[in-house]
């Protein structure tokens, strides 16, 4: 088990492409985490950043979008190279209900995929919306289908499945699939829309949020959202708490602590 405080160096076992811009790195090591919990990933000499655990357990892994210097350096790491991990941190999803609707927008599928696995292992019904800009960017479709989820695809450009935003397809499913609990991770605008739709229908939900995180352990205030620390009290929040955030979908802090639009 790797739940102690402090950085642990683990070796890259496999660093493979999921889509053109998203990769999964499996790190030879065991890390038990609840889906939605995250780790701080240290690429020695480069950067350290938060990543959800996409494969908990033995040979654990993270799934990441290659964006800037840190994730580019991670993408280039060959087998055997060392990556530092601390965590898991924060509050993950807690499985509730029997007929579940899950929504993973873009790389937001990273924590949703293991949640699908666990829900299906408990034989719960799972309707899953996988959303992406275009069909080439869809993440974990095969993994979720294999787990036995009913997969619904949405693409912004209509290259596969529903044409439009994942939140629109999810809203339709709130009525047609009759879920008793909703789980979401993805762009904040998507989450805001699903929060509104679930609230109107009084269907409980949980969503994972993102803020700039430096310490990851609830002391530096960089991830503050209305006085709540996303790294410690989140990143997963239930509907009652999501509805109270005045800054959700509106503003976030940049690395200097300035408020910028989401």
């Amino acid at each position: 088990m790797l739940t102690l405080a402090g950085i642990r160096l683990l070796s890259v076992r496999k660093n493979s492409s999921e889509t053109a811009s998203v990769k999964t790195v499996r790190l030879g090591g065991e890390l038990e985490a609840v889906p939605g919990q995250f780790v701080m990933v240290w690429v020695p000499g480069k950067d350290e950043f938060p990543m959800s655990v996409s494969y908990p357990g033995s040979n654990f892994g993270i799934t990441y979008q290659v964006l800037g210097e840190g994730t580019r350096a991670l993408a280039e790491m060959a087998n055997g190279k060392k990556v530092g991990i601390r965590g898991p941190y924060g509050r993950g999803f807690s499985i509730k209900g029997r007929k579940l609707l899950m929504i993973g927008g873009g790389v937001g599928m990273a924590p949703i995929a293991p949640l699908v696995d666990i829900a299906r292992a408990k034989r719960l019904s799972v309707d899953l919306v996988i959303g992406a800009k275009t069909s080439d960017d869809l993440l974990f479709e095969r993994r979720a289908t294999r787990a036995g989820a009913k997969v619904h695809i949405s693409t912004d450009d209509g290259t596969k499945g529903f044409k439009g935003f994942a939140s629109e397809l999810a809203t339709e499913l709130l009525d047609s699939a009759g879920p008793d609990h909703v789980f979401a991770c993805g762009p904040e605008k998507m989450i805001v829309k699903i929060v509104a739709a679930a609230s109107r229908r009084k269907i409980p939900m949980q969503a994972s949020l993102e803020r700039h995180m430096k310490c990851g352990i609830g002391i530096c205030d960089s991830c503050a959202l209305d006085g709540v620390h996303v790294c410690k009290e989140g990143p997963v929040f239930p509907l009652e708490e999501l509805r109270k955030f005045g800054d959700l979908g509106v503003t976030k802090l940049d690395p200097a602590g300035r408020r910028v639009p989401v």
Partner: protein, 305 residues
């Protein structure tokens, strides 16, 4: 009746615990949450003239007995932060605005702006061990500490606290310099300069390589510094460094601190630490026959060997 309220430089505190600078204090809403959880006063993150993103991550290393941090003074700059100070004051506890700068003049200017923003007192961070050009160099020179305090006093009408570095052999000299400059109180200690290397990676962990050590590991150093300072100056001392329990707070008070600040303890025990430490202080006082915090102040100096 045990009374744990204290008065420091005219500031009335419902209890002797303050939130230390740099922890959960970059936004008003977080400071309001800490006020609600029981802190007697709040020290803000150290604020400069311009916005600063701070050092690259990793910026903290978790150790068994504390933390090593190199946040690098991230802050939105005084203009934007003024709004947070105003908002934070609604929590009903004194807000102490912490400032840092590269020169004595800059520090004084910031002190004035903090006071204007509504801060009940100003804390001069003369002691950050890991932000180049700020704090450490200026803060380890008695002359520059004295000038900083003098100019800051001139620039603002609220109490001025000088927060000192333990990374010197002469902390009592720095305290005397602060007193000569007109500081109303000294705060000791900031973090101890330190470093961690990951053996497997073969390199320093912190993005800035060097950082500051805090938490239980540094408490004996903090206690010693407060004890020495108490014997050297007349102005009040505020104790910081590893306060995690009520007994730790009592230790600082007996060394000569009129109040204590908690930073790393928030990581160790959560935001509820303020209420719990206060309960533990009251409990100790009851068990040992103290009615007020003042009765415990500096007692370790009279009964010494």
């Amino acid at each position: 009746m045990t009374d744990i309220s204290v008065e420091v430089c005219g500031l009335r505190l419902r209890n002797p615990t303050m939130l230390a600078s740099g922890v959960l204090d970059e936004t008003a809403r977080s400071m309001l949450a800490v006020a609600k959880s029981g802190a007697g006063a709040i020290v803000t993150k150290s604020i400069g003239i311009e916005p600063r993103s701070g050092h690259p991550n990793p910026s903290v290393v978790e150790l068994e007995d504390g933390l090593l941090n190199a946040m690098g003074l991230p802050n939105p700059g005084i203009d934007l932060f003024s709004k947070e100070v105003k908002e934070a004051r609604k929590g009903g506890v004194p807000i102490i605005g912490s400032v840092f700068g590269g020169t004595e003049e800059e520090i004084a200017e910031l002190a004035g702006m903090m006071a204007e923003a509504g801060a009940d007192a100003v804390e001069l961070n003369l002691s950050c061990p890991h932000a180049k050009g700020y704090g450490a160099e200026l803060g380890s020179s008695p002359e520059r500490v004295e000038t900083s305090c003098r100019l800051a006093k001139r620039a603002c009408g609220v109490p001025v606290f000088a927060k000192l570095t333990p990374n010197t052999s002469y902390i009592a000299e720095l305290a005397k310099a602060a007193e000569r400059g007109g500081a109303d109180a000294v705060v000791a200690i900031n973090t101890l300069k330190g470093m961690a290397i990951d053996p497997e990676a073969g390199m320093p962990i912190l993005g800035n390589r060097f950082g500051g050590l805090s938490g239980p590991a540094i408490k004996p150093v903090g206690i010693r510094c407060v004890y020495e300072i108490y014997e050297s100056v007349e102005i009040p001392v505020i104790g910081v460094g590893g306060v995690t329990t009520g007994r730790d707070a009592v230790e600082y008070i007996m060394a000569g601190a009129q109040a204590v600040q908690l930073g790393t303890a928030v990581w160790i025990r959560g935001e509820k630490v303020f209420r719990e430490v206060c309960r533990e202080i009251s409990q100790f006082m009851k068990e040992n026959g103290y009615d007020s915090v003042k009765e415990m102040l500096g007692v370790a100096h009279s009964g010494r060997h």
